[in-house]
Amino acid sequence: MHTPFRLDEHPRRRPQPLSGPPAGYFEQLPTRVMARVAAPARRPLPLAWLRHAPAYVRTGLASTVLLGTFAASLWLGGTSRHQPTRATTTLDAVPPQQLVDYLTSGETHVDMLDLAELPTRRLRLATQYLQPSPRELTEALDAQPAEEAALL
């Protein structure tokens, strides 16, 4: 027969039923707590007033900032395209004849055909040099290999 358990007959474990904290815990706890409460207060955000502003003010301000950023990026992107690069500026200072002489020299392996195929913005150079007479054009075309003539 089991004896019913009676709480008031059970020797009460004093002061506490569980094992104690690590050695020195209570000596260190005040220091740790003081370190936490003495932490510097966070500085308020510079735009903390926004939190109290009406919703329409916040919405309007956000929209203005977004649109302004978009417009600025478009404007800055556009101006940069029109500004010549340093290399282009340096190259523009070189006389065209000097450029042609250099390009057609044996070292660069550039011939008339390459110059004729220059991009549109270099057309000034090409048109300056390529101003053949009809007779010169005929002779140049006849001199082309047959397979290349098919591309003309």
Partner: protein
């Protein structure tokens, strides 16, 4: 240092830190054990104890002294424990028993309990109580807190507290008895 002296010095900026240091040293063990009995684990109890004193620091200026200082601190500690246990259940979507099982596992690993079968069954029985009832039981059984003070700590009437403790004690006795504990005096063979 008396509570009134602590409060007076705390109100002075020059002596605030010193006063608070004295307050922590005066009540840290009571707060720690109050919390530890609820959460079992030392690491959790350490975190919560610190949180309690940080809250005391933040709110001590507003303490109206309509209750004893320690009662007020105990109330903060009680609320922190209950919030902690509640958030633990909610965070992991665990039913009541699983959190209880987790606490029981920590209890069984405690060196002060291990090897003492009766004490282990008693502690298991206490852990099975609902949090608030367990709190009342601990305050009465281990801390021997008067019901009037307990009423201030828990915000519950004296009558309800007495009933709660009585039911808690009955549940514990039934659990330990049902767990087939040996008689207190094994030599009394019948």
């Amino acid at each position: 240092m008396e509570d009134s002296e602590i409060l007076a010095k705390f109100c002075e900026p020059a002596s605030r830190n010193l006063a608070f240091n004295q307050l922590v040293r005066k009540y840290q063990q009571k707060v720690y054990w109050h919390v530890r009995k609820m959460v079992v684990d030392h690491a959790d109890a350490d975190d919560l104890t610190q949180d309690v004193f940080v809250k005391v620091w933040k709110n001590l200026e507003n303490f109206r002294q309509d209750a004893q200082l320690f009662t007020w601190i105990y109330r903060i500690a009680t609320n922190e424990c209950l919030s902690f246990l509640q958030s633990k259940r909610r965070r992991f979507f665990l039913p009541l028993n699983d959190v209880g099982a987790e606490l029981a596992a920590k209890l069984e690993a405690d060196p002060a309990i291990a090897g003492n079968e009766i004490e282990l069954k008693l502690q298991r029985a206490i852990l099975r109580l609902p949090d608030k009832q367990r709190l009342v039981f601990n305050l009465r059984y281990y801390d021997e807190m008067p019901y009037e003070q307990m009423a201030e700590v828990t915000g519950t009437s004296v009558g309800a507290l007495k009933a709660s403790y009585h039911h808690a004690a009955r549940k514990i006795e039934e659990y330990v008895t049902a767990a087939d504990n040996p008689p207190p005096f094994a030599t009394d063979a019948r």
